[in-house]
């Protein structure tokens, strides 16, 4: 059935897709290794390699600080939302009670609603709590999208666990908390890694709240720091440095994704297809 024409076509198409997907990142790497007028020449491999862009972003601006901020905010957001979501998803995934479907649906709809819809209310709340320009304020505001998301995905994973283990535990007189934390939690480790990773990426990439709720360059996260990077004048963007910064923060993310790609794919599809 597989014709002679079919397989070469498949390879050609795959090659095209790979080039389109990878080229922009490749171009960012090439551009980050050039400075001065070299940057404005189109060469597919730089004639003069230089790492000065990479050195300058750490020297001239608090980029190292920005990376630490992003790590702190993302790790904090993921830990808190996973902790809250574990018990919530047990209740939603394993216990049948009135109003469960409505609750699940409203949690899903919170994760779908536009961030800007609560922006002014969030700004006021963060101001009132004294968390403006504070990383804790960012963690607080990121709960709006990571918590519904982790709850939703963990619920689908909770539903897949076998019923027999739970029934045996109930007959043995185990309390609901014991079942959740001592029996189900160890079984859920793979799911927790997947969900945590997806939430981490979402928090790492967030822009709107980070832009709105911080003001000093010291307290910015990476996306905001890169978006607001300016050069000597307002109209001259330091493209070499912007590309260097982009490469620095994207490389670990890509490595992470490549290591965990099977898990990520299963997590993404668990959230959507089974919904």
């Amino acid at each position: 059935m597989r014709s002679k024409f079919y397989t070469p076509f498949l390879y050609l198409l795959s090659a095209l897709i790979i080039i389109v997907c990878v080229f922009p990142f490749y171009w960012a790497i090439v551009s980050s290794l050039k400075t001065g007028s070299d940057l404005f020449k189109v060469e597919f491999w730089p004639a003069h390699l230089t790492f000065s862009n990479f050195i300058e972003i750490f020297k001239e601006q608090p980029f190292g600080h920005n990376i630490l901020n992003s790590v702190f905010v993302a790790v904090g957001t993921v830990s808190i939302s996973l902790m809250l979501a574990i018990t919530a998803s047990y209740a939603l995934g394993r216990v049948r009670f009135r109003g469960r479907s409505a609750l699940l649906l409203s949690i899903l709809s919170i994760s779908m609603f536009p961030q800007v819809a609560i922006l002014s209310g969030m700004f006021e709340l963060i101001r009132t709590l004294g968390l403006y320009n504070n990383l804790l304020g960012l963690i607080f505001s990121y709960m709006t999208f990571t918590l519904p998301f982790t709850t939703w995905i963990l619920t689908t994973f909770m539903k897949q666990l076998p019923k027999e283990i739970e029934e045996a535990a109930i007959i043995d007189g185990a309390s609901t908390l014991t079942i959740c934390t001592k029996i189900f939690l160890p079984l859920l480790w793979p799911a927790l890694v997947t969900t945590g990773l997806l939430a981490f990426i979402a928090a790492w990439n967030e822009f709107l709240y980070a832009l709105t709720l911080t003001v000093e360059s010291q307290s910015r996260t990476i996306p905001v720091a890169i978006a607001l990077m300016t050069g000597a004048s307002e109209f001259e963007l330091p493209w070499g440095k912007i590309m260097a910064a982009s490469v620095v923060v994207t490389l670990p993310l890509i490595v992470l994704v490549l290591i965990f790609q099977r898990r990520i794919v299963s997590g993404l599809t668990a959230g959507a297809v089974k919904g």
Partner: protein
Amino acid sequence: MFKGRSSDLTKSRTRDAWLFLMPTLVVLFLVAGWPLLRTLWFSFTDTSLSDLKGGQFVGVDNFFYLFEDSTWRQSFKNTVIFAAISVSLETIFGLIIALVLNAHFKGRGWLRTAVLIPWAIPTIISAKMWGWILHDVYGVLNEILIFCHIIKEPLAWTASPKLAMVSVVLVDVWKTTPFMALLLLAGLQLLPQECFEAARVDGIHPLRVFWRVTLPLLKPAITVAVIFRSLDALRIFDLIYVLTSGSVETVSMSVYARQQLFDFQSVGIGSAAATLLFFIISLATLGFLMTGGLKQDK
């Protein structure tokens, strides 16, 4: 088990379930419910950013302002056009990539890895990377197109009024098609293999199999993916804010609302724009639910 004991058990499990849910529900109310209510309130006041407590109730004035503001109407048009075009393109390309990923050939792993790269790159960074590729003077895309004799003069991709929206759609399609492809691939892998084997035994042309068997069977998965992406596309902010600095030709409803809130300091009008976006997205969601796209869990 005796009936009485069983219902006791059910009762205590239901009570535990609510106890387990409480922390999450309280946090969700605090971070989402309360700010949403406050934003709704602000949209009926003339609050300014410098004095958040000093706003006076002005009824629906802010909404009338928006309907008369040509920039808001433009932002509405832009958002709808952007969502329609980018989601359609992403569905078509996503389907192609999913079909290729679903075929069995050597080196398929490389393709999947490559496809995940645009998805993993933060939106802000992909906007900057493409901003450089699309640069009007030094951009590599212009160089390539001139080299291939497709265009004669360099184009101002992100700055010219005609091309700015094209650029935004281009970058969004590049960034989010992989997500679409993965969702559709998962759908493809759930399809019953017997149908395809039967078609193969009968010697039916692959294209015919695609139109008559694959596509109809895949429809539920496509619907879910399209809904997810549409709701996401309607709230677009990051890409437009960075790639075209929210110029009038590309301003989206989210960008407009933030401009009003923080650049023009009018929390009342900005909140009204945000509330309107919220209602538009809720209506879209309801519409999707009505047409039976998202099936509720039993």
